[in-house]
C-alpha cells in the first residue's frame, strides 16, 4: 500500500506543479515581452556601445569576503602576501568581514596589518559583501578571491597581463582543489549552452590545447578567482543584487560583458587551490544553496536572455525542463519536482528587478545571445571571429603544419578491424600536423589503442560509447542503428567538448556514425569527411538481396539512410570517398558538394610477405570483423550458398572463418562439414600464409575493403565479388578472380585451389597493385591537397 502511495505521489505532484509552472512561464514571458516592446524605442534611439578605455594593469585591488572564516584566511593571506611581494606591484588587499563572531577582525589587525579591513556590522553575504569591498578598492583592476583559496606562485602576472588588451573584461585562473582526490567540479574553464529550454553551465577540465595556449575564452570568470576591469565592472553595475545572497552573480557580470562586446578569458598559467564551497554549503546546507542557484538561474535567464525566440522557448518549455531537471540526490522525483517549483516561486518576486536590469543593459549590447555562446565556448570560433591571438600552438612542421581535429566514431587500431588504414594515415599525417584525435571506445577499453596512437605523437581524447536511452526518432528520420548506438546525449556532449576545446584549423570526420553525431553541433571551421561507407549506397544495395516483405523493409531503410545521409552531407565542405562507386552514388544527389576519391591503404611493407608457415591444402580463408553486418552476411553466404557448390566439385575443400566478435549464427557454422570458425587469431599474417587462397564473398556495404589490401599484401590469391573489389583497380583474372553468383564463385575457388601457378601469379600482381596504388604516402599527399583547398595555404 505504501509503495502504491509512494508511486502515486509523482503523478499527483506533477499534476499540481506542472500546470502552475506553465502558467508562471507564460506570465513571465508576457511581462518581459511588454517591457521589451515599451523599451524598444529607447534602445533604438539611445543605444550606447561601451568604448574600451586604457587601464593600468600594474596593480590590482584584491577583495576577499569572509564570514567566520579565520581558519580559511590563515591559509589564504600568507600565500597572497608572498605573491603580492613577488609580483612587485602596488597592490591593495581588502578583506571584507561580514560581521564574523570568531574574532577575524582583531586577528587581522594583529597578524596582518598590511591588509585593509572593511568590517561590516552584519552578514551581507557574497554579493553585497563584495560590493562593499569594491567601494574601498582604488586600482584599475579588481581581483576577487574566495576566502577558502590559496594562491599559487605566479598567480597575479598572467591575470594582469591578460587585461592589457582593452577588450578583455576578465581573466580567470585555474582552480584546483586542496584535496587532489576530490572530483574537480570547479576548474575555472567554464562553458554553457541553452539546451532543452534551460541553461546548462559547467566547469570542464582544461584540454591540452587550453593548457598550452596563453588564454582561452570562457563563458564566465568565477567570482572567487578572477581579475576584472574596474571601469567596466562599474559600468555594468558590479555584482548584481538581483542574485543576493550568492551564486550566478559572476555569470551575470561576465555574460553582460560578452554582450557588450568584451571578452572573458581563462588562463591555466595562473592557479589557485580551493576548499570547494568551504563556507556556503557548511553554513547554509546543500538544499538552500542549490535552491539559490536554481532561483538565480531563472533570474539570470529573465534578465539577460534578450533573443526573442530563445527567451520564449525557455519560458514556454518551463514544465518540460523542470521535469528533466527535477532530480535531487537521495530523494524521490516527486520531491525533485517540488524543489524545482519552489525555486521558480522564489524567483517570481524578483521579476520586476530582473526586467529593470534587462532594460538598462539592452542600451549597450552589441552581441546577440546566439553569438555569445560559440565565442565563449570554442577556441576555434573565438579565434576566427575575434581575429585574436590566444597564443601559438607548435606543429611538427613549422611551415606546412596545421592543427587538425580528427573526429572518429571509433579509435583506429592495428590488427583489429579495417581501421588499420586510418591508423597508418593518421600516423603519417602527425609528422606534419598537430593532430588531435577524438574517438569513442567501448566500455572497459584497456587504452591500448589510444596508447599506440599517442606513441606517434597524436593527442588522443576518448569517450565511452553508450546506448541512447532517450525516446525519439518518431518519424524514422535516423536509421535505427545510428539512433541506438550513436545518438546518446552524453556522446554528443563529448563531441561538442572536443570541438570547443581543441584549437583547430579544420575538422576531419571519419566514418558516417561520427558525421551523424555532428548533425546539430555548432560548426566553426571547415569540415572534411572521409566517407568510409555511404550509408545510402550500402542500404540501397541490400534491397537487391532481399525478397518479399523484407524487400519492402529494405526499400524503406534505403530511403531513410539516403535521405539522412544527404541531410548530413549538407554540413560538410568536402567529401573524400574511398571508391568510385560511393562517389557515383553520392555526387549526383549531393549537388554542389566537393568530392575526391582517395583509396585507403597502409604501410604495406610492414606486413611480412614470406611467412614460414606451410600452406594448408584446399583451404580458403575469410577474414572479417563480425560486428560489421556485411561481414556476417558474407560468411553466411559463403557457407550456405557457395560451399555446397564447392563441395560438389571438391569435397575436401575447407573454409576457415577468422575474425573477432562472431555472433551465434557464425559460430553455429562450425557444425557444418568443412567449416572452421577460428574467431580472433593473434597472428593474422601467419593465418593468411597458411591459407591456400583468400575469399571475399561480400555482397553488402560499400567503400574500400582493407581485407583485400591485406590479402594482396600477403601475396595471396583472392576470389572476391565485384563489391569486394570496389575502390581498387583490380581486374578479373589479372589481380584476382571476380564472381558474383554462388556457382561462379565456387568455380573460381576450385580453379584457384587446383592451379598453384595461377595463385602465384594473382598473388604477385595483387601485391604489386597494393604497393603502387595504396601506399600511405600517396594517400596523405591527396589529403594535403584537400587541406590546402579547405584551410588555405600553409599557416
Amino acid at each position: 500500500m505504501r509503495a502504491v502511495l509512494h508511486a502515486l505521489l509523482l503523478p499527483v505532484v506533477a499534476l499540481l506543479v506542472l500546470p502552475l509552472a506553465s502558467l508562471a512561464g507564460v506570465l513571465v514571458l508576457l511581462v518581459l515581452t511588454v517591457v521589451d516592446l515599451v523599451w524598444w524605442p529607447v534602445v533604438v534611439l539611445r543605444r550606447r556601445p561601451w568604448q574600451p578605455r586604457p587601464r593600468d594593469v600594474s596593480a590590482a585591488s584584491i577583495v576577499t569576503v569572509t564570514w567566520n572564516g579565520k581558519h580559511h584566511l590563515e591559509g589564504l593571506l600568507p600565500s597572497l602576501r608572498r605573491e603580492v611581494e613577488a609580483h612587485g606591484g602596488d597592490h591593495q588587499v581588502i578583506v571584507v568581514d561580514n560581521g564574523s563572531t570568531d574574532g577575524t577582525v582583531a586577528w587581522l589587525r594583529r597578524e596582518h596589518p598590511w591588509v585593509e579591513i572593511v568590517a561590516l556590522p552584519e552578514n551581507r553575504y557574497f554579493v553585497r559583501g563584495n560590493r562593499a569591498g569594491v567601494e574601498r578598492a582604488s586600482r584599475d583592476v579588481l581581483i576577487f578571491l574566495n576566502n577558502d583559496m590559496v594562491v599559487r606562485p605566479g598567480f597575479l602576472a598572467p591575470l594582469l597581463d591578460g587585461l592589457r588588451d582593452p577588450r578583455v573584461f576578465a581573466v580567470a585562473a585555474e582552480v584546483f582543489f586542496k584535496d587532489p582526490a576530490k572530483r574537480r567540479e570547479e576548474t575555472g574553464r567554464t562553458r554553457g549552452e541553452l539546451r532543452h529550454g534551460w541553461l546548462k553551465l559547467a566547469h570542464v577540465l582544461p584540454s591540452r590545447d587550453e593548457r598550452e595556449l596563453d588564454y582561452v575564452p570562457v563563458l564566465w570568470a568565477g567570482g572567487g578567482s578572477a581579475a576584472f576591469d574596474r571601469a567596466m565592472y562599474d559600468a555594468i553595475g558590479g555584482f548584481d543584487t538581483l542574485y543576493d545572497p550568492f551564486y550566478m552573480e559572476d555569470m551575470g557580470l561576465s555574460y553582460e560583458a560578452w554582450k557588450r562586446g568584451f571578452r572573458v578569458l581563462f588562463t591555466a598559467r595562473s592557479s589557485v587551490l580551493h576548499e570547494h564551497r568551504g563556507t556556503s554549503r557548511k553554513a547554509f546546507g546543500d538544499d538552500y544553496v542549490d535552491a539559490m542557484i536554481r532561483r538565480n538561474q531563472h533570474l539570470f535567464l529573465w534578465r539577460n536572455l534578450t533573443a526573442d525566440a530563445a527567451i520564449a522557448w525557455v519560458l514556454l518549455s518551463t514544465p518540460w525542463s523542470m521535469l528533466l531537471r527535477g532530480k535531487r540526490p537521495g530523494r524521490s522525483r516527486a520531491y525533485g519536482l517540488w524543489f524545482e517549483f519552489r525555486a521558480l516561486l522564489r524567483a517570481l518576486p524578483r521579476l520586476p528587478e530582473a526586467a529593470l536590469g534587462r532594460c538598462r543593459s539592452r542600451l549597450h549590447h552589441v552581441r546577440t545571445d546566439g553569438q555569445v555562446f560559440p565565442l565563449a565556448n570554442s577556441i576555434a570560433a573565438h579565434r576566427r571571429a575575434e581575429h585574436t591571438v590566444l597564443g601559438r600552438l607548435a606543429t611538427p612542421d613549422p611551415l606546412r603544419g596545421r592543427r587538425i581535429l580528427v573526429l572518429s566514431a571509433r579509435l583506429p587500431r592495428l590488427g583489429y578491424d579495417g581501421s588499420w588504414t586510418v591508423f597508418r594515415r593518421l600516423v603519417l599525417q602527425a609528422k606534419t600536423h598537430r593532430m588531435t584525435l577524438f574517438g569513442f571506445v567501448e566500455p572497459g577499453d584497456d587504452g591500448a589503442a589510444a596508447a599506440a596512437l599517442r606513441a606517434h605523437g597524436i593527442e588522443v581524447v576518448t569517450a565511452v560509447r553508450v546506448r541512447n536511452a532517450m525516446p525519439g526518432n518518431l518519424h524514422h528520420s535516423v536509421p535505427a542503428r545510428l539512433w541506438r548506438d550513436y545518438s546518446a546525449p552524453a556522446m554528443r556532449a563529448a563531441v561538442v567538448r572536443a570541438l570547443e576545446s581543441v584549437d583547430h584549423d579544420l575538422v576531419q570526420i571519419e566514418y558516417p556514425e561520427m558525421l551523424h553525431l555532428l548533425r546539430d553541433v555548432p560548426k566553426y571551421t571547415p569540415w572534411l569527411y572521409t566517407c568510409h561507407e555511404s550509408l545510402g549506397f550500402a542500404a540501397t544495395r541490400q534491397v537487391a538481396l532481399a525478397r518479399g516483405l523484407p524487400r519492402l523493409a529494405a526499400r524503406f531503410r534505403a530511403l531513410q539512410a539516403t535521405a539522412h545521409e544527404l541531410v548530413l552531407l549538407q554540413r560538410v565542405d568536402h567529401v573524400i570517398a574511398l571508391s568510385d562507386a560511393d562517389t557515383a552514388f553520392l555526387r549526383p544527389r549531393a549537388r554542389g558538394l566537393a568530392f575526391s576519391v582517395v583509396p585507403c591503404g597502409g604501410e604495406v611493407d610492414t606486413v611480412p610477405t614470406e611467412v614460414r608457415v606451410p600452406e594448408a591444402p584446399a583451404t580458403v580463408l575469410f577474414v572479417g570483423y563480425f560486428r560489421h553486418g556485411p561481414n556476417v552476411d558474407a560468411a553466411l553466404w559463403l557457407c550456405n550458398e557457395i560451399l555446397p557448390h564447392l563441395h560438389r566439385a571438391m569435397p575436401t575443400a575447407r573454409v576457415r572463418l577468422v575474425g573477432r566478435d562472431a555472433p551465434p549464427q557464425i559460430t553455429a557454422l562450425a557444425a557444418r562439414p568443412g567449416v572452421e570458425v577460428a574467431g580472433y587469431v593473434p597472428d593474422l599474417a601467419a593465418e593468411m600464409a597458411a591459407a591456400t587462397a583468400i575469399v571475399l564473398p561480400l555482397r553488402q556495404g560499400s567503400g574500400l575493403r582493407g581485407k583485400l589490401l591485406e590479402a594482396w599484401t600477403a601475396g595471396k590469391a583472392v576470389v572476391g565479388t565485384r563489391v569486394a573489389c570496389e575502390g581498387t583497380a583490380a581486374r578479373d583474372g589479372e589481380h584476382c578472380l571476380v564472381a558474383d553468383a554462388p556457382a561462379e564463385f565456387a568455380q573460381a575457388i576450385v580453379r584457384l585451389l587446383g592451379d598453384a601457378p595461377l595463385r602465384a601469379r594473382l598473388g604477385a600482381a595483387g601485391r604489386e597493385l597494393a604497393l603502387s596504388k595504396h601506399g600511405t604516402a600517396g594517400i596523405v599527399a591527396e589529403y594535403e591537397t584537400v587541406y590546402d583547398a579547405l584551410a588555405g595555404g600553409a599557416r
Partner: protein, 174 residues
C-alpha cells in the same frame, strides 16, 4: 494437480517458496524453474520437486508453447521486490492459468502475501513504479511503429527530395 513455480528470486527465498508451495499442495506435482546457479542447491533440498532450467533452448515462444501443453493448474511466480523487468512473470501470465505471486521483499525472506496474479495488477504495479523515461520510450516506440511509420512514408521521400534539391552555398567556414 500440477503446479509450476518460477523462482525469479534469490535462492533463500526460492527455498522458502518451494516449501510453502509443497505445504499448500502436498499431493501436487511441482515443477520449479530456476537459474543454473541455484538449481543444484535447490534440488538437494527439495528432492521431490522437479527442477528445470529457466532458459530452455528454442526461444521464448517455444518455451511458452511447451508449458501450455503441460497444462499446469497453478502457476506461481516470485516477485521479490525488484522492479527489474522479468520475462518469466509475463510467461506466468501468458500461460492463462490462475497465477499466484509471492512477494518476499521483507528482510526475513519469508512469504508476505499471495494473491491471484492477473494482467491488471501486473500492469498497475509495473505502471506505477515505471521510470518516466521508460514510459516515454514505450510511448515513443508505439508511436514510431504506427502513426510515425505512416507519416514517415510520406515524410522521408519529401526529406530526400529536399536534401537533393539543396544547393550548397559556401559557408563562412569554407
Amino acid at each position: 494437480m500440477k503446479v509450476a513455480v518460477f523462482l525469479t528470486t534469490d535462492r533463500e527465498a526460492a527455498d522458502q517458496l518451494l516449501a510453502r508451495v509443497r505445504a499448500d499442495w502436498p499431493d501436487a506435482a511441482i515443477v520449479g524453474f530456476a537459474n543454473d546457479e541455484d538449481r543444484e542447491w535447490l534440488a538437494a533440498r527439495h528432492a521431490a520437486i522437479e527442477l528445470r532450467r529457466d532458459k530452455p533452448p528454442g526461444g521464448k515462444p517455444a518455451f511458452v508453447k511447451s508449458l501450455r501443453r503441460e497444462a499446469f493448474d497453478r502457476v506461481v511466480v516470485a516477485w521479490h521486490g525488484g522492479e527489474r523487468f522479468q520475462p518469466l512473470r509475463l510467461v506466468a501470465l501468458a500461460l492463462g492459468r490462475p497465477a499466484l505471486a509471492i512477494d518476499d521483499r521483507g528482510r526475513e525472506r519469508r512469504v508476505i502475501w499471495w494473491q491471484p496474479w492477473t494482467w491488471a495488477p501486473h500492469l498497475l504495479r509495473r505502471g506505477l513504479r515505471a521510470d518516466p523515461l521508460y514510459v516515454a520510450r514505450l510511448a515513443a516506440s508505439c508511436y514510431r511503429a504506427s502513426i510515425g511509420l505512416l507519416l514517415a512514408l510520406v515524410w522521408l521521400p519529401l526529406r530526400l527530395l529536399g536534401a537533393r534539391a539543396h544547393r550548397r552555398r559556401p559557408g563562412p567556414a569554407a
